[in-house]
Symmetry: C2
Subunit: 300 residues, 2 copies
C-alpha cells in the first residue's frame, strides 16, 4: 500500500462557498481529508489529504482546476506570500513510497495542470530542476505582482511547465515534493532563555547542527520554562531520537534537564516506530508487525 | 473506531476441506483475517482476525457453529490439550475498547453459542466467573475425555452457560477475554546462560518480578549469545520499556550489556506509541496524531 500526502494551498480563505467548491472536488476521489485550515487574515486555505499516488494526483488536479476557475488573483489580498490561485502543491511520501516517486508525481501534475489551464508551474524542493528553485521562499519572492513583471523577461523566471507568461487570473503555481515535516518541541527545566537559544543553535542546520533541523529557543512564560522549538524536515535522515538525545546531553552541560517534549500535529507511524526501535535496540523489526498497519494494508 | 481481536482455536489441523469451510465463514462478515495457523501434529488450527466488536462476535459465532457441525471430538487425536470442536475463543481489546467490553462480548458469545448448539461453555481469564477458572490450563485440565467423565457430577465442573453435560460430538468450549500478548526477547552480549536465567527470574512475575511478565533464559548457540525470552501479558500495565530498562540495568550488574531486542509477531500501535512516549518524555501525545491511525478511523 503506497500512501502519499498532498497539502495544496489556494488563495481564498474568506468566501465559504468558494472554499467549499474547491475542497468539495476531493469527494469525487478515493482520498481522505485529514485537515482543512482556512485563514481569513492570510486569505488562504490549506488542505491536507492522503491516498494512493495516482488518486492523490487526480484529486489535486481537480482542486487546482476549480481554484483556477473561481479565484481571480487581480482581486486577491492577504498577508501570506502567494503567486497564484492554486498557490502551492507539495507531494509528500508517507508510506511505501520513495521521494523519487513523489518527485515524478509532482512533475506529472505540473505538466497536466499547465497543459489544461495555461498556468505556468515552477518546481521546488526535491522536485526542483535548478538549485535556485529548491527553496519555496526564493521561488515565490516578489509574489504575484512581482512575478507578473518579471516573467517572460528575466530568464531566471522561466517556468518549468506551461507558457512563459502569467495566467491572466490564476497567476502561477509552485509544485514540489518534500519530506513529511514533524513539529517537535523540547521543554527544559529552566527559565533561562539563553540555554534554549544555545541548544537550538547546537542542533539546527544553519549554525552547524543536524542537516534536517530548524530550531529556535523560546520562553514559555506561563510555565516558567524555556523550549527548543523545532521543525524536523526529514525524519528519516535526521531522526527525532538522535536530536532528542543531543538536546538531553547539552541540557546537562548547562546544569539543567529535559522536562518533556511535544509533537505538534501529525507524524507518520514510521517515525514513531523508528523511535521505539532505537530505544529498545530492536533487530529485524518490520512495521507490518503493527496490527493497525496490517489492517490498513487490507483495507486500502 | 473500536477494534477487537479474536483468536479462535478449533480441533482440526489436517483435513483441508474442513479447515477451509470453518475459516470460510469469516468471508461473510466485515472482519480482517490476520493469520491462519493450521498445525497437523496438534491437529488444531488457530485463526487471528480483527474488526469491530459486534461483527467480531457474529463472525466467531458463525465459525463456531460450522466447527460443531464438522468436527467429531470422539474421533479427534492431537498433541495439544483440547476439550471441544471449537476449543477456545478469546476476545482481545486492540483499540478504543476496554477489557470490560471484551468480557461482556465473551459472555454474550458464550450465551448465544450454547443456546444455539447445546455446547457447554466455560468462561476463563478476565471473563472468568470464579477464580479457579481464570487460568485456561486449569479449565482444560483432563481434556475432552476427562471432562466427559466429570461434568454433571463434579460441581466444580458446572459450565457457565449451556447444559451441564458434554455435547455428544462437539464437547465443550472455553470462552475468554484477555489482554493482547506481546512476545518480546532481549539478547545479551554474553554466552553465559546463568546471566539470562538470573535476569529472567528478576523480571518475571512468578519469582518476584513484574506482574504481567513470563520469562525464561535461553542459549542461542549459533550466535554465541543468551536471550531473555518473554511473554508480556498486559503491555498497558507492565509496559515493554520498563522491563527493558530493568534488564539493561541487571545486565550491567553482571558486567554485560543488552545486545538487541526482538518483537516476535504482532503488537498494537498503542504499545509502540507508549515506548516512543516514554523515551521522548512526550506530553499531551494522542495516538490520533499518527497519520495511519487517523486514516484507519476514516476507513472503518
Amino acid at each position: 500500500m503506497k500512501l502519499v500526502e498532498c497539502v495544496p494551498n489556494f488563495s481564498e480563505g474568506r468566501r465559504k462557498e468558494v472554499i467549499d467548491a474547491i475542497v468539495g472536488e476531493l469527494n469525487n476521489y478515493k482520498v481522505k481529508v485529514l485537515n482543512i485550515h482556512a485563514d481569513a487574515d492570510h486569505n488562504r486555505t490549506d488542505v491536507t489529504f492522503i491516498g494512493e499516488p495516482e488518486e492523490v494526483k487526480k484529486a489535486a488536479l481537480a482542486m487546482a482546476l476549480k481554484a483556477v476557475e473561481l479565484i481571480d488573483m487581480n482581486k486577491h489580498k492577504g498577508e501570506h506570500p502567494r503567486m497564484g490561485a492554486m498557490d502551492v502543491v507539495p507531494f509528500i511520501p508517507v508510506a511505501n513510497v520513495t521521494m523519487e516517486e513523489c518527485v515524478e508525481l509532482a512533475h506529472e501534475f505540473a505538466k497536466e495542470f499547465s497543459e489544461k489551464t495555461g498556468v505556468p508551474c515552477f518546481m521546488y524542493e526535491e522536485a526542483a530542476t535548478r538549485e535556485d528553485r529548491r527553496n519555496l521562499a526564493d521561488v515565490r519572492r516578489g509574489e504575484y505582482e512581482g512575478l507578473k513583471e518579471e516573467i517572460g523577461k528575466n530568464p531566471d523566471k522561466t517556468p518549468d511547465y506551461g507558457p512563459n507568461k502569467m495566467h491572466p487570473t490564476a497567476g502561477a503555481t509552485a509544485v514540489g515534493a518534500r519530506e513529511f515535516l514533524i513539529a517537535f518541541n523540547v521543554n527544559l527545566a529552566t527559565n533561562d532563555i539563553q540555554i534554549a537559544k544555545n541548544i537550538a543553535r547546537a542542533v539546527r542546520h544553519s549554525s552547524g547542527g543536524y542537516r534536517y533541523v530548524k530550531a529556535m529557543g523560546f520562553e514559555i512564560k506561563e510555565r516558567g520554562i524555556v523550549q527548543v522549538s523545532m521543525n524536523m524536515t526529514n525524519y528519516r535522515k535526521t531522526p527525532l531520537f538522535r536530536v532528542f538525545e543531543t538536546i538531553k546531553r547539552e541540557a546537562e552541560r548547562y546544569g539543567t534537564r529535559v522536562l518533556s517534549s511535544e509533537i505538534v500535529g501529525m507524524l507518520p507511524m514510521e517515525a514513531m516506530a523508528d523511535i521505539a526501535s532505537f530505544y529498545l535496540q530492536l533487530e529485524g523489526f518490520d512495521i507490518q508487525q503493527v496490527i493497525e498497519k496490517r489492517l490498513l494494508e487490507e483495507l486500502l
